[in-house]
């Protein structure tokens, strides 16, 4: 997220698109605080939920039509003088001119290759001056500016079109547009924030959904200001940490690409292709080589490319996601699998496929705090254990209270926790498991001379062991992420204080460069800091934990000030330029000061020309987005599925696409799975006529492993249920509490009907469309049991990141035989 949960209190308008009160109930206190200060809350959701109950306006939107809605808001802002003109012209690429070859026609961008189902993105680029810099028209009038292209693109997204596609009545849309866009305008006086979570990500255009709302925020000038920003809510306590540390197939720690075998054959090529020519990422070689040093120590030398060859390489980009892995597993390509703190038998899309795939493994290791459905897949209902040949090992895991370590939460805040009690019996931390497994593997390969094994031998694996179970020191793991001046021995390793100290010459080691500063000397663990400022001076609470990068709480905060470095809005000052600040003898005066750590060159003056060299090469005094090569935010950004978000229907939709002839994202991933295990319903299917969305509840957590086994939580929601409107219930003869069967082409589940006024049918292009909703927490192990919702979901994915489309699909619902209704 660009901002900070605490800062939500400063917003004048909050547009929540997720079910925040339900899924982030603690963070939601800041929405309540903002309301107490007079803020207006808009909630956009197909259902009226716990969040809607506290909102001023509920906007019902058919699942899968987010871009039509955000596009409508962008069009409204552009056509009604609601954009923050100066911000847009100078802090975004709205003023850049785009290649004359680029175009858009009836749903398709230029360069589509129908056979390969991919875009050639050659024309999706700036027009350039002879010196290579982008051509720019800060009046935004040139027809090839990004702004004019956007204006044309979104001119089709009229309030009438929003009503037809999303099912939001025009009057309600205009009410919301007027309210939210009141935070923009050339003489901006307010700020607005937008909240999202899995509601936007779990779609075949998930990345573009998020782009669309980020673009809206840029048009209104809301990024970088107090009470502004994009609030990205994570689905799990440590998802941010997992992403930072690259528990993902496409990244290495600190958001550097996992090398591709053919694209990045050696270190020089990798650094050449992955290092931009401007912006702070020009320092990538220092971060990357420091990562290699952290992993391979003395074995990483200039002569051997710092151990670059030790890292496994990706064969291709379209592979290795969670969905790819399970399709490969089902096809017998994967022999063994570790499920550590995850429960794919319930949590994966197309969960019947996931369970069938597990049965193809030779071995499966499950490590969790309770027995999970994944650990027990071999005796799931309807499965004959004799037919399963997979050997399953279960390791009991220590929860947070039984181990030291950190969690990195949704606002990039790294928080340390101490072990409260020793784990009982054979229970061990995950860190213990991986560390000792690593030690054993290193011992097994100690005498290998094979080239492929040299990385295992070279790996630095020297965390001090503590206590009777030889628990590796989590503090030393964090020290390694922070980084130090490389030395073979811990006692000689001097901690780095900031990532600016990382070097590309092999003298520094840093396991995750963005975390540098969290452990600035061997005695200071800033993740464990718990200083609270009650005076209100430091409302962002810089003394509590450590937020990467550099303990900055609101990113892009240079954008909170105008071209002269003064706050756009006096009451919303964050950082500003103090021209008289003394920088010591001989140095020019002036620096950025304020309530947050500047996300900028500390002494880079407003209106300064672009730096020709140095760590901020290519960044000038008015370029707040320093991680971008050109220092400005990318309204136009060439993702694999387009440089501007465009509405496409979900892979399964009740209607044709009303905005173009292109029905779905043309590059969406649809897996071909053997044995009819990924059948897709046709557009407007009469067999599966209803829209289905899936979601979570406050009382249960994810696949239910941590909640359905706990009596106090299990009793809160024991029965699995589907939320169904009174209108649909009447049509289908279903009463509240009846057992119903919900089916999709992938499978069917039985559960109870919760008939409610909180769901209402949509009118889409003049026709009634019913939508139902089902939470996905249930499985066949635990106190609260029920059918697996994800059995219904298809194996389809966003083409950028391959996330599943579990927020919008088609289903049927019928009253079932009323047996065993508790």
């Amino acid at each position: 997220m660009t901002t900070n949960l605490i800062d939500i209190q400063n917003a004048d308008v909050i547009m929540i698109t997720s079910n925040m009160a339900e899924n982030h109930p603690v963070g939601f206190q800041w929405v309540v605080r903002a309301k107490e200060r007079g803020a207006k809350v808009i909630h956009v959701d197909p259902r009226f939920t716990r969040t809607s109950a506290l909102a001023d306006i509920h906007v019902p939107l058919r699942s899968g039509t987010n871009i039509a809605f955000f596009g409508g808001l962008m069009a409204y802002a552009m056509n009604n003088d609601k954009i923050h003109t100066e911000y847009v012209a100078h802090y975004t690429n709205a003023s850049m001119l785009i290649d004359d070859g680029f175009g858009f026609d009836d749903g398709m961008f230029t360069g589509y290759d129908g056979d390969a189902k991919r875009y050639d993105r050659t024309t999706w680029r700036y027009q350039t001056n002879p010196d290579g810099s982008p051509k720019r028209d800060t009046t935004l009038r040139h027809p090839r500016t990004v702004y004019q292209l956007m204006k044309r693109h979104y001119s089709r997204y009229t309030p009438e079109m929003v009503e037809r596609v999303c099912g939001i009545p025009k009057a309600k849309f205009l009410q919301v547009a007027e309210l939210f866009c009141s935070t923009g305008g050339p003489k901006k006086t307010k700020t607005g924030t937008v909240v999202y979570a899995l509601n936007l990500t779990q779609h075949t255009n998930g990345v573009q959904n998020i782009r669309a709302l980020a673009m809206l925020q840029l048009l209104l000038g809301n990024i970088g200001l107090p009470g502004g920003g994009v609030v990205a809510l994570r689905g799990h306590a440590n998802v941010q940490g997992a992403t930072d540390l690259a528990v993902l197939y496409q990244d290495l720690p600190g958001y550097m690409a996992m090398p591709l075998r053919d694209v990045h054959p050696d270190l020089a090529t990798y650094l050449e292709k992955e290092t931009p020519k401007g912006g702070y990422w020009i320092n990538k070689p220092a971060f990357f080589i420091s990562l290699l040093k952290a992993w391979y120590g003395d074995a990483a030398t200039k002569a051997n490319d710092f151990g670059y060859d030790f890292i496994p390489k990706r064969e291709k980009a379209d592979a290795y996601s969670q969905q790819h892995i399970f399709v490969d597993m089902y096809e017998g390509k994967i022999k063994g699998f570790f499920a550590i703190g995850q429960n794919p038998a319930v949590g994966n899309p197309n969960a019947t496929l996931a369970r069938a795939a597990l049965a193809k493994l030779d071995w499966l290791v499950v490590k969790d705090i309770f027995h999970t459905e994944t650990a027990e897949f071999w005796r799931a209902p309807g499965v004959d254990p004799k037919s399963i040949n997979t050997e399953v090992f279960f390791f009991p895991a220590a929860p947070a209270a039984e181990k030291n370590g950190t969690l990195t939460n949704t606002m990039r805040l790294i928080q340390w926790h101490n072990m409260a009690v020793e784990p009982p019996g054979d229970v061990r931390s995950d860190l213990h498991f991986w560390y000792h497994l690593g030690k054993r593997i290193k011992a097994l390969y100690a005498s290998s001379t094979a080239r492929r094994d040299q990385g295992i031998k070279a790996l630095v694996w020297d965390y001090p062991e503590e206590g009777k179970h030889a628990e590796p020191s989590a503090a030393h793991v964090l020290r390694e992420m922070n980084g130090y001046v490389w030395a073979p021995d811990w006692k000689d390793r001097v901690q780095l204080k900031s990532f600016g100290e990382c070097k590309a010459d092999g003298t520094t080691a840093a396991g995750c460069w963005i975390y540098t500063g969290v452990f600035p000397d061997e005695k200071t663990n800033r993740a464990a800091s718990r200083q609270i400022d009650k005076s209100g001076k430091d409302y962002l609470q810089h003394g509590w934990g450590f937020a990467w990068p550099a303990n900055r709480r609101i990113m892009y905060n240079r954008a909170s000030a105008d071209l002269d470095g003064k706050p756009w809005i006096e009451s919303k000052a964050l950082i500003q330029w103090d021209p008289d600040a003394d920088n010591g003898p001989g140095a020019p005066k002036g620096k950025w000061v304020g309530r947050d750590v500047p996300d900028y060159g500390p002494t880079l003056a407003p209106r300064a020309p672009k730096n020709a060299a140095g760590p901020l090469k290519g960044v000038g005094g008015n370029d707040p987005f320093i991680m971008r090569p050109d220092g400005v935010a990318g309204l136009f950004a060439p993702l694999v599925d387009g440089p501007l978000p465009e509405h496409y229907e979900p892979v399964e939709a009740p209607t044709r696409n009303l905005l173009s002839k292109q029905q779905i994202n043309p590059v969406a991933k649809i897996w071909q799975v053997a044995d009819g295990r990924n059948e897709i319903a046709e557009v407007g299917s009469s067999k599966y006529p209803y829209v289905l969305t899936t979601y979570r509840l406050t009382e249960h957590h994810l696949s239910g492993v941590m909640s359905r086994q706990l009596p106090w939580l299990a009793e809160m929601f024991k029965s699995h249920f589907a939320e169904i409107s009174e209108e649909l219930a009447k049509e289908k003869g279903i009463r509240n509490g009846d057992l119903v069967e919900v089916s999709t082409p992938r499978g069917s589940i039985k559960l109870r009907a919760m008939v409610t006024k909180r769901l209402r049918p949509f009118t889409i292009d003049g026709k009634t469309v019913h939508q139902i909703g089902i939470p996905w927490h249930w499985g066949y192990v635990g106190i609260a049991k029920g059918d697996v919702t994800n059995d219904l979901v298809a194996s389809v994915g966003d083409p950028n990141v391959y996330i599943q489309e579990s927020k919008a699909l088609l289903c049927n619902v019928e009253k079932a035989a009323q047996q065993g209704v508790a």
């Binding site: 309540v32 106090w712 106190i783």
Partner: protein
């Protein structure tokens, strides 16, 4: 009773309750109350009444939005219900053993060592709060965390509440806050917003509520009365009728005597 000790209250602003039910879990955890088979309420609630294992529960109520500006729209009211700790407490008055008593901070608690399980209190509570525990043979209910408050800690539910919908504190400032909140809500269009538990309700409730709609919408009695409040009138009527009968008898006997004389 140390009458000088400050009255402690729980002020629940239902209009910022998200129905997360963390208060229910916190209550169960602090008081170590066991699992209980839930009921199907047809909505997000898992119960519709108190029990010896559930001293607090959230009511979920789907209604038409009470604001005229939101005519025709649905609204979802949530209320975390608990013992009201009444100043005129029916349970306390009915208790023959003195097990139910008023604490130094103004709340109502049950001494489990004294309760004899007679259950007179159960029928005397206008809110259906008190429940009989078949295992212990005694009754129980929310203690107002009488094992936390004297140690300076807030009640477990208030401590847990993420939105501060349940607040713990001194009576007068909390009441002031609640009265101001009602004014705010009325200004926002909640015309029937009200403070439930000022001195007009059973002499004042030490667990009081700000409601967005009429009390009856939340299943609360609009004007709760104690069953024993009828005792005086009933007794007076009984005495009056016996007097009437006695006089009638006297008159009648006198008439008979007179007749004989006549």
């Amino acid at each position: 009773m140390a009458a000088t000790m400050t009255q402690k209250v729980m002020y629940t602003d239902t209009t910022i309750c998200t129905g997360c039910r963390a208060c229910m879990v916190a209550c169960k955890q602090w008081n170590q109350l066991p699992y209980e088979e839930p009921e199907w309420t047809g909505g997000y609630g898992n119960r519709s009444h108190f029990s010896d294992k559930a001293w607090r529960f959230v009511r979920f109520i789907e209604v038409d939005d009470p604001r005229p500006s939101h005519k025709g729209e649905v609204q979802w009211l949530m209320m975390s219900d608990v013992c009201k700790h009444c100043q005129q407490a029916g349970c306390l008055e009915a208790c023959p053993t003195g097990a139910i008593h008023r604490t130094a901070w103004g709340t109502v608690d049950i001494d489990q060592g004294i309760c004899n399980g007679c259950r007179d209190c159960v029928a005397s509570c206008p809110f259906g709060v008190i429940a009989f525990n078949a295992d212990t043979g005694r009754v129980n209910k929310c203690t107002f965390c009488s094992d936390r408050v004297p140690a300076g800690m807030p009640t477990a539910c208030a401590k847990t509440c993420p939105t501060s919908s349940i607040r713990f504190g001194d009576k007068e400032p909390m009441l002031e806050m609640a009265r101001a909140r009602v004014k705010e809500l009325k200004a926002q269009g909640f015309e029937r917003a009200n403070l439930y538990g000022d001195s007009d309700i059973l002499g004042g409730l030490n667990a009081f509520y700000v409601l967005a709609d009429s009390p009856s919408v939340y299943g609360l009695p609009e004007r709760p009365e104690l069953p024993q409040r009828n005792v005086n009138l009933d007794s007076a009527l009984a005495i009056a009728s016996s007097v009437v009968i006695g006089l009638a008898a006297l008159v009648s006997f006198r008439d008979q005597g007179a007749g004989r004389q006549g």
